[in-house]
C-alpha cells in the first residue's frame, strides 16, 4: 500500500522547525542539545519517506549513518556538558563565551 509522502514531510518539516527555533531561542545547553537531535531526526524522517517513495534503499542506509554519527555526537556532547557543569553549575549557553574573539 502506498501512503502519500506529504504528511510525513509535513511532520518532518515541523520537527525541524521546532528544533531550529528551539536551538536559537533556548539557553539551556541540554535543551539545545535535544533540539539538535530533533533536527537530525526530522532529516531522518524525510530520508525514510523519500526512500519509500522512490523505492531506493540508499535513503534508509543514510539514516543509519546519521543515527551512528548522532550517537557518537551525543557521547561527546554530553561529555562536554558534564565537564562544563562540573566547572560551573547552572551555566546557560550564553554564559559560555570564553572563546569570544
Amino acid at each position: 500500500m502506498s501512503i502519500s509522502p506529504g504528511p510525513y514531510l509535513v511532520v518532518a518539516a515541523a520537527l525541524f522547525t521546532i528544533g531550529a527555533v528551539g536551538l536559537l531561542v533556548r539557553r539551556n545547553v541540554l535543551v539545545m542539545f535535544m533540539c539538535v537531535e530533533l533536527m537530525l531526526n526530522a532529516a531522518n524522517l524525510s530520508f525514510v519517506t523519500f526512500a519509500r517513495k522512490l523505492n531506493d534503499i540508499g535513503g534508509q542506509s543514510a539514516v543509519f549513518f546519521v543515527m551512528v554519527v548522532a550517537a557518537a555526537e551525543v557521547v561527546i556532547g554530553l561529555g562536554i556538558i558534564v565537564a562544563i557543569f562540573r566547572r560551573q553549575s547552572g551555566a546557560t549557553a550564553d554564559d559560555l563565551h570564553m572563546l569570544k574573539g
Partner: protein, 634 residues
C-alpha cells in the same frame, strides 16, 4: 749572486711572520731589533744582487718563485724581476727602511703596542719590495695594495685618537680612487695585449694605437696620483701625519709615495707611445709642486710643513718623468728619500725632545739643547733648499733642466717652486732651531713641565738609536749626489739605468751652458729665499701678513671637496636612509603587518562566543543557499 734575489722580499716576510707569532714575547726593544735586522739583511741581499747584476752588464733577469695564476693562456707568475730600476728601488727602500727601523726602536720605546708597530713596518717593507720587484702588473698591484693597507694601519696606529683613525680612513678611501684608475688601466692592457707581464706588454707597446696608449697612461697616472699624493688626490697625505713619525718618514716621504713615480718610470715604453699623457704628467707634477709649496709656507705644524713639502717634491719627480727625464726623476727620488727621511726623523726627534709638542710657534732656539738633531736637520734643510753641494741641488737642477727642455712655462713653475721651497724650509728651521725660545716662558714652561715624566724639564737630545740614523742620513744627504754627478764618468745612476729607460729618455737635453746658467739662477734664487726667510723668521715668529688664511687652509681644497663630494654623498645617504629605507622598504613591510593586524582586529568582532549567534549564522546561510537554489530552479 743574482740567485739571492728571492732573499730580498723573504727576509722582511720572515721578520713579519716571526713578530706576528712571537712579537709580544720578544717585547720592547727586542722586537724592534728583529725587525731592523730583517730589513738590514734585505739591504745586504739587495747589495749582493745589485753587484751580481752589474757583473751581468745589467741584463734584466727574472727569477721564478712559483706559478701563481696559470689560467688557460693567461699566466701570472710570482717572480722577481732583477733589473737596474727594480734594484735601485730595492736598494733605497731597504737602506732607508733599515735606518728608519733603527730610529723607530728608540722613537717607539715605551709604546703599549710596540711589537705590533714593527709587525706592520716589516709587512710594509715586504709589500713595497713585492711592488718594485714584481715582473708583472698583478704582483705589482698586490704590493701596491699591501703598502696601502700598511699605510692605513700605521697612520691610524694610535687609533684612540679620532683624528688618527679618520686620517687612516681618508688615506685608504682616497687611494681607492687612484686604484680605480690603476685597475682600469690593467684591464685595458690585458684587453689589448692579452698579458700583464712587463716583458710582453712593453714589447707590444709599439703596436698599441696612440689613443689606447694615452688612455692607459692617463689611467695609470690616476693611480699614481692617488699613491703619490698629486693633485687632485693629494688630500690624504697631510692628514696622514697623524701616524707615528717613523711612519711619516718611511711611508709618507721616502718609499710608498714614490711608488707612483716608480710606476711611471716602469711604464716608460708605454709613455713613449703617448706623448700627450707625458705632457699631462709633467703639468700635474708642476701644478702640484707649486701648489703644495705655497701651502707649506703657512703651516705651523712641524710635520705638516714637511708633508706639503713632500707633495711638492713628488710633483718635481712627476715633472721630470713627464719631461722624459726618467733618470733625473729617479735620482731626485733617491736624494729626496735621503733628505726628507732625515728631515722627518729630525722633526720626530724634536717632537720627542719637546714632549709631543708639534707647533713650531712654540719652539725656537732648540739648537742649544739638541745639537745633533739641529746639525743634521740643517743638513737636510740645505739639501732640500738646493744649496750646492748638497744632494738636492744636483737632482733638482737635473729636473729643472729637463723641464726647460720640455717647455719654458714648466721650468718657470719649477723655478718659482724652488724659491718657495728654500723659503718655507728656512722658515721652519728658523722657527724651530733659531730665534727666541718660545717654550720656556710662563704658561708654556708649565705646559712642558706638566708633560714631562721622568725626562728633564727642558728639551733633551734623543737616544743613540735615534741620532745614528740621523747622522747616517745626513751623510747621505750631503754625499748622495755622487751616485749621479752630472759629468761623464761619474754619472753612475744614468749609466746604470740606461738599459731600462735610456731608450725612452729625451736624447739631447739642453746644452751644458744652459744647464749651468739655469742652475746658477736657481741657486741664486734659493740663496735669496733662504736669506729672506732667515731675516724675517729669526727675529719674530709672528708675521700674519706672510701667512694668509687661504694658504693656512690649503686653498680651501678640503672644504671644497667636502662641499662637492661629501655633501651630495651625505644627502644621497640621507635620502636612501630616510625615504627609501625608512619610507619604502620599512613602509611596505610594516604595511603588510598592520594590514593583517587591523583586519584581524575587525574580524574578531564576529567571534562573539554566543552559540546562538553561530547557529543563527548557520541558519541564515542555509536559508540563503536554499533561496538561491529555489530561485535558480524556478
Amino acid at each position: 749572486m743574482i740567485h739571492a734575489a728571492f732573499l730580498i722580499p723573504l727576509l722582511p716576510l720572515l721578520g713579519f711572520a716571526l713578530l706576528v707569532v712571537a712579537g709580544k714575547r720578544l717585547g720592547d726593544p727586542l722586537a724592534g731589533w728583529v725587525a731592523t735586522l730583517a730589513v738590514a739583511g734585505a739591504f745586504v741581499a739587495s747589495v749582493i744582487v745589485a753587484l751580481g747584476l752589474h757583473q751581468h752588464h745589467q741584463h734584466a733577469q727574472t727569477q721564478l718563485i712559483f706559478e701563481w695564476l696559470p689560467v688557460g693562456g693567461f699566466h701570472v707568475n710570482a717572480s722577481i724581476l732583477v733589473d737596474p730600476l727594480s734594484m735601485t728601488m730595492a736598494l733605497f727602500v731597504t737602506g732607508v727602511g733599515a735606518l728608519i727601523h733603527l730610529y723607530a726602536i728608540g722613537y717607539m720605546h715605551g709604546d703599549s703596542r710596540y711589537p705590533r708597530f714593527f709587525v706592520y713596518l716589516n709587512l710594509f717593507i715586504f709589500s713595497m719590495l713585492s711592488l718594485v720587484l714584481a715582473d708583472n702588473f698583478v704582483m705589482m698591484f698586490l704590493g701596491w695594495e699591501g703598502v696601502g693597507a700598511c699605510s692605513y694601519l700605521l697612520v691610524s696606529f694610535w687609533f684612540e685618537r679620532p683624528a688618527a683613525a679618520s686620517a687612516g680612513k681618508k688615506a685608504f678611501v682616497t687611494n681607492r680612487v687612484g686604484d680605480f684608475g690603476l685597475m682600469t688601466a690593467m684591464f685595458l692592457i690585458f684587453a689589448h695585449v692579452g698579458s700583464l707581464t712587463y716583458g710582453p706588454v712593453f714589447a707590444a707597446a709599439g703596436g698599441l694605437g696612440r689613443g689606447t696608449a694615452t688612455a692607459i697612461c692617463l689611467l695609470l697616472l690616476l693611480g699614481a696620483c692617488g699613491k703619490s699624493a698629486q693633485l687632485p688626490l693629494y688630500v690624504w697625505l697631510p692628514d696622514a701625519m697623524e701616524g707615528p713619525t717613523p711612519v711619516s718618514a718611511l711611508i709618507h716621504a721616502a718609499t710608498m709615495v714614490t711608488a707612483g713615480v716608480y710606476l711611471m718610470a716602469r711604464v716608460a715604453p708605454l709613455l713613449a707611445q703617448a706623448p700627450d699623457a707625458a705632457t699631462t704628467i709633467a703639468w700635474v707634477g708642476a701644478a702640484t709642486a707649486l701648489f703644495a709649496a705655497t701651502v707649506a709656507c703657512a703651516q705651523n705644524d712641524i710635520k705638516r710643513v714637511l708633508a706639503y713639502s713632500t707633495i711638492s717634491q713628488l710633483g718635481y719627480m712627476f715633472l721630470a718623468v713627464g719631461s722624459g727625464a726618467y733618470v733625473a726623476g729617479l735620482f731626485h727620488m733617491v736624494t729626496h728619500a735621503f733628505f726628507k727621511a732625515l728631515l722627518f726623523l729630525g722633526a720626530g726627534s724634536v717632537i720627542h725632545g719637546m714632549h709631543d709638542e708639534q707647533d713650531m710657534k712654540r719652539m725656537g732656539a732648540l739648537r742649544k739643547w739638541m745639537p745633533i738633531t739641529s746639525a743634521t736637520f740643517i743638513v737636510g734643510w740645505l739639501a732640500i733648499a738646493g744649496v750646492p753641494p748638497f744632494a738636492g741641488f744636483w737632482s733638482k737642477d737635473d729636473i729643472l733642466a729637463a723641464a726647460y727642455h720640455k717647455g719654458f712655462a714648466l721650468w718657470l713653475i719649477g723655478f718659482v717652486t724652488a724659491g718657495l721651497t728654500a723659503y718655507y724650509m728656512t722658515r721652519q728651521v728658523a722657527l724651530v732651531f733659531f730665534g727666541r725660545a718660545r717654550w720656556g716662558t710662563g704658561e708654556e714652561a708649565a705646559h712642558v713641565a706638566a708633560n714631562q715624566e721622568g725626562h728633564g724639564a727642558t728639551p733633551h737630545e734623543s737616544p743613540w738609536t735615534m741620532w745614528v740614523p740621523l747622522v747616517a742620513l745626513a751623510l747621505l744627504a750631503t754625499f748622495g749626489w755622487l751616485i749621479n754627478a752630472p759629468w761623464h764618468p761619474a754619472n753612475f745612476l744614468e749609466r746604470w739605468l740606461d738599459p731600462v729607460v735610456g731608450a725612452f729618455s729625451v736624447a739631447h737635453g739642453p746644452s751644458t751652458a744652459i744647464k749651468v746658467s739655469l742652475a746658477a739662477i736657481t741657486t741664486v734664487l734659493g740663496l735669496g729665499a733662504i736669506g729672506l726667510g732667515f731675516v724675517v723668521w729669526d727675529r719674530s715668529a709672528e708675521h700674519s701678513e706672510l701667512e694668509p688664511e687661504i694658504l693656512r687652509q690649503a686653498w680651501y681644497i678640503d672644504p671644497a671637496y667636502a662641499a662637492v663630494i661629501e655633501r651630495p654623498g651625505e644627502m644621497l645617504a640621507n635620502f636612501s636612509a630616510d625615504v627609501i629605507d625608512h619610507g619604502l622598504i620599512d613602509g611596505s613591510v610594516n604595511g603588510v603587518a598592520s594590514l593583517v593586524r587591523d583586519s584581524g582586529r575587525e574580524l574578531r568582532r564576529l567571534q562573539t562566543g554566543y552559540v546562538r549567534n553561530y547557529a543563527l549564522g548557520i541558519a541564515a546561510g542555509t536559508a540563503a543557499m536554499l533561496a538561491y537554489v529555489v530561485v535558480r530552479t524556478w
